[in-house]
């Protein structure tokens, strides 16, 4: 059910995603589908130890095996490449695609075997002899900070990568003045995006052209640039192809180490080289784990449920190397109070390294765990006061008339009507009926609960958390680009400069271009420029593409429309405002008989220079590079800085029943109210929201990268890392609301993380509501049958 968006010709209407037709006939073009003549394949040798000195590597036996071309090790990479870039200022925390001198997590890649087939490379990998000297290791983040803990990067001097306490507003005074306070811990265990396609990359070095072609399953800002730097090539010495289909990413497909490895191998061996992670490599050594977080939170509140202030300490275990993941502690600063009117906040992010697989980005970039932490507190406040959980939220939600609303950490929420969305969700879920259903179930002896969660999706990708957490990085440009041209036959082609992983960007651009030029979007072809001629892009992260790519496409299209108007104005010798543009044809307003059809205008532009307005370039082409709205500001001394420009809102209402003995949770009813402003394509937005909810259910109930005391990942295959199937995800009802953003071309806000941002909190809320009559509470995800079963059993024994 799309909310009303009157006044649009194509935007906000049902439209099939043109780019998906090929998926229906097996016509996708994923990295593993690409083969080049003479292509070689890579298999990895991984460390079995969580921390060990690498004393010796002997590849003699491996090299003698059939079909093997090379075996490379960390020292080869350290000599020939630059270390992979880290987001934080950590000069002593170095990272290469293969372990150099020391393995820092079980599963870290220690050697790469290159052979004529993957099978042969795997055979040889078993014969690479590595001599390890095991060292003490640490896998618990709090233990990692304790004195005397084994160090992951001894040169860095500690396992602390970042720590700062931000204080925004009079936190101490607000706590002193409040009637009550609660303190609690919320634990978000490690999970990740885990797409069905693993990461893969193919590289081919053309020695004659001195050009490295790269095809990768990539979703990463500045991948081509960082790849080139690491390989010591100029930016125009690397051509990253963005027309590769990416089989899902949701943040995780950064693949920098994989890209550098195969880029190096291709140059060294003079042949194309392809690395496709198998699933075991992906889960253990792919460096794409997600937030692994301990929140210690205090909230100060009054007797009527008004939250006055909050302190939040967020400890995150990024694993053995840093990359960009620590920034996931910074992004939530942009919505640190959630959708609530909390006047002061103290926020202490702490980034720790341990001997585990490195983290990479996960959908929301840290926002979902933070929302879980905040919503846990709201529910606890309600429990303490004996207040209805919806009522506590209503009291604290920022009101419609308070926008734009500046939060203590410096961001401004652009627009919203949170109460309306919550009301819609409650109505769609028939909340009163759910309460009766729950109470009936309880009367029958069952554990039943209703979950409520409200949260924001910051969108637009103003990543000012970079300079916030790393003052040496004074980046304030967060841009996206689009080029649009009308060819001499009148056909429209638009080019975007980054990859897609199913978000429907081509349809997004075609719809926007079609809207402005009033031409059928199905006739607009959208292509992905490669990195040599793509204009600046920051890739589809931070729910930014509707705003940024949509904005750039709109601006470029407007330029084209202005050119068409100028051509007609010149032809008719009138001012542009005397003309009417309709469907691509232009007529004189007061004399419609004087008109130029689209084909005529195109012909003048391309072939009739003598009829062009003086000074106008021939042809019809325009481009635009869009900076993020509100961008361009560095943090102040207190760490206040505007982050994402646009804020979408979601309200989840969930009904669940728990099995008293098995501890299993069954989600029986799921409603999500969603407001992301104008939806350029409602089906695409809904699709990602359904997927986000499923992903959130996984994090809430099923998914965990679990480590044992020996530092071994014990959930290293799909037998143990459990993704939700169609049985675990219930039927979901989405109800839309539309509060347009005042900052964007069409009032659109970004989406793409929706559902994932609130579902873990909502499911936890339902479980805790079910446990409430027993006086029990759980604030640790995932809430597995074992965890809930044990909690129930312990309480029964104590009773």
């Amino acid at each position: 059910m799309a909310a009303e968006a009157p006044g649009f010709r194509y935007i906000a209407r049902h439209r099939r995603a043109r780019e998906h037709r090929r998926f229906l006939v097996g016509g996708g073009r994923f990295v593993a589908d690409l083969a080049l003549p003479g292509m070689l394949h890579v298999a990895l040798v991984a460390s079995p130890y969580p921390q060990a000195r690498i004393a010796r590597i002997d590849a003699t036996a491996a090299l003698a095996m059939p079909g093997i071309r090379a075996v490379v090790v960390g020292s080869d990479l350290a000599q020939a490449t630059e270390p992979l870039m880290s987001g934080l200022d950590l000069p002593k925390v170095l990272r290469y695609p293969l372990a150099v001198g020391r393995a820092r997590y079980a599963g870290e890649w220690v050697a790469a075997v290159v052979g004529e087939s993957r099978a042969l490379a795997e055979d040889a990998a078993e014969h690479v002899e590595v001599e390890y000297e095991p060292l003490p290791h640490v896998v618990d983040p709090e233990a990692a900070l304790a004195a005397g803990a084994p160090l992951v990067h001894p040169e860095h001097g500690s396992n602390l990568l970042y720590r700062r306490r931000f204080v925004w507003g009079p936190v101490e005074a607000d706590f002193a003045a409040a009637a009550h306070r609660i303190a609690y811990r919320a634990r978000w265990h490690r999970s990740a995006t885990v797409p069905i396609e693993t990461f893969g990359v193919l590289a081919r070095w053309d020695a004659a052209a001195r050009l490295l072609d790269v095809w990768a399953s990539i979703q990463m800002p500045k991948f081509p640039d960082q790849l080139a730097r690491a390989l010591r090539l100029p930016g125009n010495g690397v051509r990253t192809h963005f027309d590769v289909d990416v089989g899902g990413s949701y943040g995780g497909k950064r693949g920098l180490k994989h890209g550098v490895l195969v880029g190096y191998l291709s140059r060294r061996l003079g042949a194309p080289v392809r690395l496709i992670e198998d699933r075991l490599e992906n889960l253990r050594g792919g460096d794409a784990h997600g937030p692994d977080r301990i929140f210690d939170v205090e909230m100060a509140f009054d007797g009527d449920g008004t939250v006055r202030s909050m302190t939040m300490r967020a400890l995150d275990d990024v694993g053995a190397y840093a990359g960009r993941a620590p920034f996931q502690l910074g992004k939530p600063v942009g919505a640190i109070v959630g959708p609530y009117r909390i006047a002061s906040v103290a926020y202490e992010p702490i980034s720790v390294t341990t001997n585990k697989t490195p983290e990479e980005a996960v959908r929301g970039f840290g926002q979902s765990p933070t929302n879980f932490a905040i919503e846990t507190g709201i529910d606890l406040i309600a429990r303490r006061l004996g207040m209805d959980r919806v009522a506590v939220r209503r009291r604290n939600l920022i009101r419609r008339d308070e926008f734009p609303y500046r939060i203590p950490s410096g961001s401004t929420y652009d627009s919203g009507d949170y109460h309306a969305v919550l009301d819609k969700a409650l109505a769609a879920a028939d909340h009163d009926a759910l309460v009766r259903r729950r109470d009936r179930a309880r009367a029958e002896g069952r554990l039943a609960g209703i979950g409520i969660a409200c949260c924001l999706e910051p969108s637009g990708g103003n990543s000012s958390f970079e300079p916030l957490l790393n003052p040496k990085n004074e980046t304030t440009t967060w841009m996206e680009s689009c080029q649009v041209k009308i060819d001499l036959g009148g056909a429209i082609v638009a080019a975007m400069g980054t990859s897609s992983a199913g978000q429907g960007h081509e349809t997004l651009v075609a719809t926007v271009v079609g809207e402005i030029l009033e031409r059928d979007p199905d006739t607009v072809r959208v292509v992905h420029a490669d990195s040599l001629w793509a204009l600046p892009s920051n890739s589809p992260v931070g729910s930014r593409m509707a705003i940024m790519l949509g904005g750039a496409a709109a601006s470029a299209s407007r330029k084209l429309k202005a050119s068409l108007m100028a051509i007609a104005a010149h032809q008719f010798d009138v001012a542009s405002d005397a003309l009417v543009y309709r469907g691509g044809d232009i007529a004189v307003a007061v004399d419609p008989g004087r008109r130029l059809a689209w084909a005529d205008l195109v012909e003048i532009a391309h072939r009739k220079f003598h009829l062009l307005p003086p000074g106008m370039e021939p042809g019809l082409q325009a481009m635009h590079v869009e900076e993020v709205p509100g961008g361009g500001t560095l943090p102040d001394a207190d760490g206040r800085v505007p982050m994402y420009p646009c804020y979408a809102f979601e309200a989840h209402v969930v009904y669940a029943e728990l099995d008293r003995v098995t501890g299993q949770t069954r989600l029986l009813n799921y409603v999500c109210g969603h407001d992301c402003g104008v939806m350029i394509n409602p089906d695409i937005v809904h699709g990602m929201t359904y997927g986000g909810i499923a992903h959130g259910i996984g994090a809430a109930l099923y998914e965990r990268f679990a480590y044992d005391a020996n530092g071994q990942l014990v959930s290293g295959s799909f037998m143990d890392y459990l993704l939700p199937s169609s049985h675990e995800v219930p039927a979901i009802t989405i109800v839309d609301h539309c509060t347009p953003s005042p900052l964007t071309s069409f009032g659109q806000k970004g989406s793409g993380e929706a559902g994932y941002l609130g579902a873990p909190a909502a499911v936890a809320s339902a479980v805790n509501d079910a446990l409430e009559p027993l006086g029990l509470h759980i604030a640790e995800l995932p809430m597995t049958p074992l965890a809930i079963g044990d909690l129930l059993a312990r309480s029964e024994e104590g009773a």
Binding site: L280, S715, S717, L722, S725, H727, P785, G789, D790
Partner: protein
Amino acid sequence: MKAVDFDYECPASIDEVCRRLAVAGGDAKIIAGGQTLVPLMAMRLARPARLIDINRIAALQGIADRVNHVAVRACTRQAAALDHPAVRARVPLLAMALGFVGHDQTRNRGTIGGSLANADPAAEIGLAALALDAEIEAQSARGTRTIALELFFAGPMETALAPDECLTEIRFPVWRDGMIGTGFQEVSIRRSDFALAAAAVQIARDGAGTCRRIAIAVGGAAPTPIRIAAAERRLLGTRLEEADIDAAAAIVRETVAPLADLHASPAYRRRVAGSLVARALAEAAS
């Protein structure tokens, strides 16, 4: 995740299978449905030098209704067994168990014999077979023998089959007297996952509702699936009222010896095993 290379053979008769097993001396593995073996080979945890494919042997396919038992040839697909009228009518406990086994796609390849030979302590087919006191027929170059199910499972993933033996048939006894009731309950994290624990129950009651015959088997709560004889004795002659069922559940909890893994602790399995038996009993009695 490419398997280590192997020699592949696809014999046409059971005798040929046995001959090759005898020759291979432990270096060979039978492949039936492959749903368990191939993942292990892909992960290089299983590395047989020789694979003997038994999928083309007609004599190893098929289900026969033999009045007192239903005979299932070892390489019969789980999907075929699930749909077979003789199984549904005469061995309903097996049909119930099969509903919990994997997915449509895995049941199209996975076999009855393969599941039993794999001997996962939580596997549903083995549990139903144990509850029913099924018999296994195994053949080797040395001849044919019958193994009672209660002697078949030796430990986790371990059976009484010798390395040169091929499982050829499973005979599921049919209960013919009284009102038959069946119950099958399991807990798994996702619906189609391996069971953390499972309970299979079959009862026969007389006209007055008294339990005249009963079998209770529990899976996933010990190194092998086990029968809970003490609980069976407790319930024989009763009308399976709530107090009887609770008592049986308590006996189950005292009897089982569960193992620990990532997803469930021994205490969890112990608690759950008792409740699953109670639920299966209620299901069988309804």
